[in-house]
Structures are given as C-alpha cells and as structure tokens.
C-alpha cells in the first residue's frame, strides 16, 4: 500500500463501518453472518434504530444484544419480532420483494458482480470445493439492491467467475434486466480498498471511492481485471471515534458472551 501511515483501525472495521453507513433507518435488510451482520447491527446502534434485520434462519426484526456467531443463534430468536419457518422466509419475505438490501459475500466476484461461492476448478473435479450458494441465488434476484462485501485481491476479484453461484449483472450491458429478475442487483462492492459501483451502460464495476490510506494504483493492482476508475474517486471518511467505540463494544460484548463454556445440563 501507499506511504500514508497505517490507520488505527483494521480492514474489517473500516469495511464494517463503510457498509453500515450505506444502510438507512427502517430499511429492510437481509443479513448474512459475519461482517454483514456486524455492519447491519452497527447501523442499528448508530443511525438506523428501526432498521429491520432478517436472517435466513427465520428471524424477522431481530435486535441482538451480541453478534450471532451462526445464522441461527438463539439470541436472534429471542430478540425477534417474529420467528417463522425457513421456507416462509424465502417465499413470503424475500421472494415477495420486501427486502431493500441483501448483503452477500463470496469467494470470488467478477467485473459484473457475479459471485462464486461454489467451486474453484471444474464442478465435477473441483480444485477447491466451497460451501455452496445457500441463500445467495435468490437474495441476488429479489433484494431491491445487493451490497457485496469482500476483501480485495487479484485472486478473488476476477474477470469472470468460474461458477456463477448468484447473479450480478451477468454479462453486463443490460443482460440482467433482460433475464427478467425483479431485484436491482449489486449496487456496491465494499472492499478493504474502497467501494466499487456498476458503471451506467456497461454495468462493469468501477472504483468510485477509496480509503484514505489506499491509492487508486493499489486498488487496480488488487483487482484481477483492468479496473476502471470513476472520473472522481471519493475518499471515504475514516471511522469516527463513535463508530469505532460502538463497534468495538459490540465485539467485546460478543466475545464475552461467547467465552462462557457451554455446559450440557445432563
């Protein structure tokens, strides 16, 4: 990276804060475990107290006091407005078009925002078998917009994914819209270098913002395709003291809660 001194926060923290800032109050957010969940809850604790968090395990309107470590932690059920069967989450709540923002991660993303979380190498003789698509194919179709969160490298940001686990803009240039899917697709990729957004027309992702300590050249070097750069590249505001304090407190509470050993009552 560049000569600017390394900041006092981690890449995970700045990605979390950046993602949290993109969420708004009362938005309906379909949340995955890990960084998306941290970001969504950080937003809830900061500027979006009435954000609606849906986890695919069936918990709607959860307000967890500590971050869940799995998608179905008891904390999510205990603090939810309602807990419904999993088939209903996908039919009545996601497919119905009620989700404003879906958060997705993946092993690979390509220039058109297609994601691979299935396999590296041939499907039938995989080099690396990944966990699979899970909820992503339908989140990618039905959420009004999708935010992708992924650390950047030339291996993970590829020109074309080996396997499309979920649809971004497909081959670009309106291919997604032609496929008839209702949701708007990936509108931002949040990385540890900055933020990419789809170009109007081509729908290829371009760099639109960078962190203060990162150069455009850094970001280009960490991308496996010839990354286009927007006419103006914004500099992302670093995490504020308040954002960091709330996030770190949330992580601290989570670690405390999870450090208690589980004892079976038998």
């Amino acid at each position: 990276m560049s000569a600017v001194p390394r900041p006092q926060w981690t890449p995970d923290e700045m990605m979390t804060v950046t993602a949290a800032r993109m969420l708004w109050d009362r938005c309906v957010c379909f949340v995955g475990i890990g960084l998306p969940s941290a970001a969504a809850n950080l937003a809830r604790l900061l500027h979006a107290p009435d954000i609606v968090l849906i986890y695919e395990s069936g918990t709607i309107g959860t307000r967890p006091r500590v971050l869940p470590l799995s998608i179905g932690d008891g904390e999510l059920a205990d603090t939810a407005t309602t807990v419904v069967p999993l088939p209903e989450i996908f039919s009545y709540w996601l497919q119905s078009g009620r989700v404003d923002v879906g958060f997705l991660g993946a092993a690979q993303v390509d220039r058109f925002g297609n994601l691979n979380s299935t396999v590296i190498g041939p499907y039938d003789r995989p080099k690396t078998r990944l966990p699979g698509a899970g909820g992503a194919p339908e989140i990618a179709i039905h959420a009004r917009q999708v935010f992708v969160v992924l650390k950047q490298s030339a291996r993970s940001f590829v020109s074309e994914v080996a396997f499309k686990s979920s649809a971004g803009f497909l081959t670009g240039y309106g291919a997604r819209k032609a496929s008839g899917v209702p949701g708007g697709g990936p509108q931002a990729i949040i990385t540890d270098y900055g933020v990419m957004k789809p170009q109007a027309g081509s729908e290829e992702f371009e760099l639109v913002a960078r962190y203060e300590h990162v150069t455009v050249a850094d970001a280009i070097a960490a991308t496996g395709w010839p990354l286009q750069v927007a006419a103006t590249v914004d500099v992302l505001q670093p995490p504020t003291q308040d954002e960091l304090a709330v996030l770190r407190d949330l992580h601290r509470r989570t670690r405390e809660a999870n450090s208690r050993p589980v004892k079976l009552p038998v």
């Binding site: 475990i33 999510l76 069967p85 179709i141 899917v181």
Partner: protein, 284 residues
C-alpha cells in the same frame, strides 16, 4: 408412534441405502441420532440436509453416505466442512454424488414433499450455473403470464430425523424457536423419528405453536443434550468452541477417524459419548 430408545429407533427405521434427512437449521440439529447411525454402520445412504454442518461431516467422513442433497455445506462461522470436501474432492472414504440447490430451492422441495405435490416452484436460480450442474432444476411456464418459473422435484425422504425440545407421553412433539424446515422435512418423510430433550406429561404448547401430532411421528426417543454441539433453546446454548475445535479434528483423515473410533464407535450411546468426552477433559 412408539416411545423407544434411540438405538432401537435407528435400528428399526434407518436402513442401508435409505434416503435420510436430518434437519434443524443451526438449532436442534439431531447430532445424537446422526452418531447412532454412524455407530450402527449404516452404508449407502442418500443424505438430505440444507446445511450439512458437522453432523454430515461426521456421517460422510465415517462412510455412511453415497449421495448428498444440500444447499450450503460448511462449518458455520468457522470455514470448511473438511470431510464433505474430502469426499467431493478426493472421494474419501468413498465417492459422494451431490444434488446441489439453493436454500430457497431446498425449502420449496420440502414444502412440495410435505404437500405431496410432485414439485415445488420458486422464482429462483436465474442467472446462476446451478441448473447446469443439477439437471433436476427445471421450469414450468405460468399458464397466466407465460413466465418461466423454476421447479425442483419434491423431497420425500424415507426417514426424517429431528431433535425437539419436548414430547408428551402420547408422542406429540413441540418445537420452539428457530424452526428451519423441520416441520416440512418431517411431514415429507415416510417415517419420522424424533429425539427430544425431555418427555413431559403436558406439552404446555402455546396457541399456534409448532406441534407434530403423535400420529405423524413414527418413534420418539428421549436423548437429553442430543443436539449438542448445536443447541436446544431453553436447554443449552450452541457450543461455538466445539465448532472451532472440529476444524482441527476434521482437517486430517487420521485425526478424524481416531475421534470417531474413540467417541462414537467406542461408546454405546450418546450418554457414553458425552461421558467419554468429559473423561478426556473435552466434554461439554
């Protein structure tokens, strides 16, 4: 419906070559039942489960399965399901055929199974490579709009196994908290086995709670702690530390096999399994 032991239930109702679903989404995963299947050395199973999790990592690594139908197969929050990977990537301990879906597709397939419809449908899979590798993902044409709607064949397991909080003495089963596709998988099956934390005189089920009536349940066995290292709301929490530990145990074939030999094959039942872990200072 019979209230019986887990050993007797698996022995009577899970046969080599059966199609078997053990459901429970993070919550109420029937680990004790899965280990009893390993202990009874069932072979050639077609395992179905949305999230294979550690339970199928164990069963696949122990050689019980020849096919897996699933939608997400990792160690949640930790990383890979190493035994599932090894089976798919390197055919160890034997080849594992896969039917791969999305969660929404699996859910629709269970709903179809419970409804005894031949297929389920969803607006799904569009723009993905999944239909290219799973030829059972097809479509119908809407008779009103002409749209193509994706279809999945119904899932109707020979046996579904669930873990729940409570059964009453008649065998009615109460499930509370995160439900996953448990009810659908249970009702889709030809036989339904349920392990529970306790058997009570009165379920005390709130109005509109999820209750499986005794007459849809084949057998109930009381196995306290039987969802560990997953959890049973109201009884114990998820053992996240064990999920992390499993990453080490399962990474290596020999370490894994030793663990299965010592704690599963080397014990008579789930109580013995927990006692053996505790004797070694690694028990919950």
């Amino acid at each position: 419906m019979a209230i019986t032991t887990l050993q007797a239930a698996i022995s009577a109702h899970v046969h080599d070559g059966d199609t078997v679903a053990l459901e429970g989404f993070t919550h109420l995963i029937p680990f004790a039942a899965g280990q009893e299947i390993i202990r009874q050395r069932r072979r050639g199973l077609h395992l179905i489960r949305m999230t294979p999790d550690l339970i199928y990592d164990q069963m696949i690594g122990a050689g019980c399965a020849e096919r897996l139908t699933f939608s997400w197969g990792g160690n949640p929050g930790v990383g890979s399901a190493h035994r599932v990977r090894d089976a798919i990537e390197k055919a160890w301990p034997g080849p594992l055929a896969i039917n791969e879906h999305s969660h929404a597709g699996m859910a629709a397939a269970y709903v179809a199974g419970a409804s005894r419809l031949p297929f389920g449908m969803l607006r799904g899979y569009t723009g993905t490579d999944l239909p290219g590798v799973n030829p059972t993902i097809r479509h119908v044409v809407c008779p009103y709009t002409g749209e193509h709607i994706a279809t999945v064949p119904a899932l109707n397991p020979d046996v579904t196994i669930l873990h729940a909080q409570k059964a009453d003495r008649a065998g009615n089963v109460l499930i509370s908290g995160i439900l996953g596709a448990q009810k659908e998988a249970g009702l889709a099956a030809h036989r339904l086995l349920v392990t529970v934390e306790e058997i009570v005189d009165d379920l005390g089920a709130p109005m509109n709670a999820v209750v499986l009536p005794s007459w849809v349940v084949t057998a109930v066995a009381c196995v306290p702690g039987g969802a560990w290292p997953s959890y049973a709301r109201g009884y114990y929490s998820r053992d996240n530390a064990f999920y992390i530990t499993w990453d080490e145990i399962s990474r290596d074939r020999a370490t894994f096999t030793a663990w299965i030999d010592r704690y599963v094959h080397g014990t008579d039942d789930f109580a013995g399994f927990i006692a053996a872990l505790r004797a070694d200072g690694v028990g919950p």
